[in-house]
Amino acid sequence: MINLARRDIEHTLGKFVVTAMGVGMLLGIVLIMIGVYRGLIVEAEVLLDDINADLWIVQENTMGPFAESSRVYEDFKDIIYVMRGIDKSEAMTFQNIQLPHKDKPVRAVAVGYDIYGKISPINPNRLIEGRELKNDHYEIVVTNKSGFKLNDKIKLGRNFYTVVGVTHKSVYSNGDPLVYISLKDAQELQFLYSNKEIQNNTARGVKNSDSVLVNAIVATVKPGFNINEVANEIKKWQHKSVYTAKEQKEILTKNLVERSSKQIGLFTIILVVVSTIIIALIIYTMTLEKMKEISIMKLMGLPNSLIVSMIVKETLILGIFAFVFGNIFSHLTYDKFPKLVVLYAYDALLLFGVIVVASVLASFVGVKKVISADPAAAIGG
């Protein structure tokens, strides 16, 4: 049987391709939107994955250190360390800082860690230049997106820090770049009072504690121990909130990116619906343009199935072309977006399924037109 859809498309190829490219761009935007959503999730998990701790021990009744502020004493890590089943435990700080840069300060999240400790938040795979921190003071590792380069000097507080290492793709869950400083420096920046303030406090009778604070204790569990049991043990005896890596991830994705992801999800759904409507309109006008031929075919006695299959096939081919263009478009542009865009083949496939269904739905308007077409209309009465 003659492939009517193919012949018709070949006959108006240029127009068809341009139309498919237009719809394709729309689908490309859908793919980018999904990619932005995926990027949010990936970014939210970068820091957690890099630290790779089994347990997060934070201030009691808080969802710290990311969703709520949390303070625990640094030496608490030693108490954790001696508990049954604990392999390693370290103290860490997380704080928002502004790094002075040429024209405008760079907002970043500084991770403070014990450079002599056994858990490092710096994933060696991300280190593209220089090294990790070696000295207790005034060294900093930055991520390349922060705009700083190796050996740059950055003024933080009262001191200049030297960039000794550069990582890539290190971002905090909100997309801010990550920088790493020693725990001592971080504590100084976050908790240290000026001499004047200490004097004032002493005058007011407030005791300045000698103990040093951090935001969280992270720990790993020895093989063979159940992580949840160890966590419960700590909760029971130490009056702290304890989260497993999985729970911490949930806090991050649920609490921090949930609203943005819903926003993006809704936006994506609207875009898909709009694309479907646009495809439907295109198919409708394409069908209208062929009304004369369709009436003739009906008059000659061609069965509806043949004409309907032409319309449905054309819609599907349009959808497939548009999908291919959409993928090309999204792959050409995704890395130009300021925030991470992650394109998964899985998402593209899912969208493909949606487009196929949408195309078939969209072709209904054309099909309806075909079925209601009057064969006698072909010859104008």
Binding site: M1, I2, L4, R7, D8, E10, H11, T12, K292, E293, I296, M297, K298, L299, M300, G301, L302, P303, N304, L306, P375, A376, A378, I379, G381
Partner: protein, 235 residues
């Protein structure tokens, strides 16, 4: 086996209802034999196209009876279950304009219907080439209709109408778009087809020059069918 190709009895066609009722055909009865070419003449608006479309199972009559060959297709309602199948298998249509499908080439236009009837691509193409040769247009088989002249396209339209081996050809002013010489050659061709393939042909025309080539002349007068013997017939 009867030799009757078309039999119409007490056919009535009204359009509209009540005040806007238009009576077009009233009590038309006639028969057309296989191998006959019949001219249908009447003033504009008399109901020529309406009559052809009823015989062609495109337009539903108001009442009456229609037989196509042995098959009673209409008897106050459609008797045939699938009127489109009847059109596809028994009837060839030719119109004033060629109405070829613009996105198909010539041979595809001619083979479309046979292929929809289940004839293989190879056989339908062979038959189409034969028809195109017969109509002296085979050199354009792989052109698009937009690359052909009006007369050439009309010949392709005739080939298309013949491609499904119809028992009946219904032609609505097939020569209106052609010059005198071409009109005569088309009508001669139709006559030849009627004779050689034993096909019944009704052709609507306003052109006196082609009447002599027809076996009978059918008129619509006072909303009914009357025959007039053609005075100078060419057999």
């Amino acid at each position: 086996m009867s030799n009757t190709a078309i039999k119409v009895q007490n056919l009535v066609k009204n359009f509209g209802k009540g005040d806007s009722l238009v009576r077009v055909i009233e009590n038309a009865s006639f028969e057309i034999q296989k191998g006959e070419i019949v001219a249908l003449i009447a003033p504009s608006g008399a109901g020529k196209t309406t009559l052809l479309m009823m015989i062609g199972c495109v337009l539903e009559p108001t009442s009456g009876e229609i037989w196509l060959g042995e098959e009673r297709v209409y008897g106050n309602k459609w008797v045939a279950k699938d009127t489109r199948k009847i059109r596809r298998e028994k009837i060839g249509f030719i119109f004033q304009a060629h109405y070829l499908i613009p996105f198909l080439n010539i041979i595809e236009n001619v083979t479309l219907l046979p292929q929809a009837n289940g004839v293989s691509e190879k056989i339908s193409k062979e038959k189409a080439m034969e028809l195109l040769k017969y109509l002296e247009i085979d050199d354009k088989a792989y052109n698009m209709s937009s690359q052909l002249s009006g007369g050439q396209n009309q010949r392709v339209a005739i080939a298309r109408a013949l491609a499904n081996n119809p028992q009946i050809i219904l032609a609505d002013e097939p020569t209106a778009a052609l010059d005198g010489e071409r009109s005569v050659s088309v009508i001669k061709m139709l006559k030849k087809i009627a004779r050689e393939q034993n096909v019944a042909i009704i052709t609507v025309t306003h052109d006196d020059r082609i009447l002599p080539y027809c076996d009978k002349i059918m008129k619509i007068e006072n909303r009914t069918i009357v025959f007039q013997d053609s005075d100078e017939r060419i057999i």
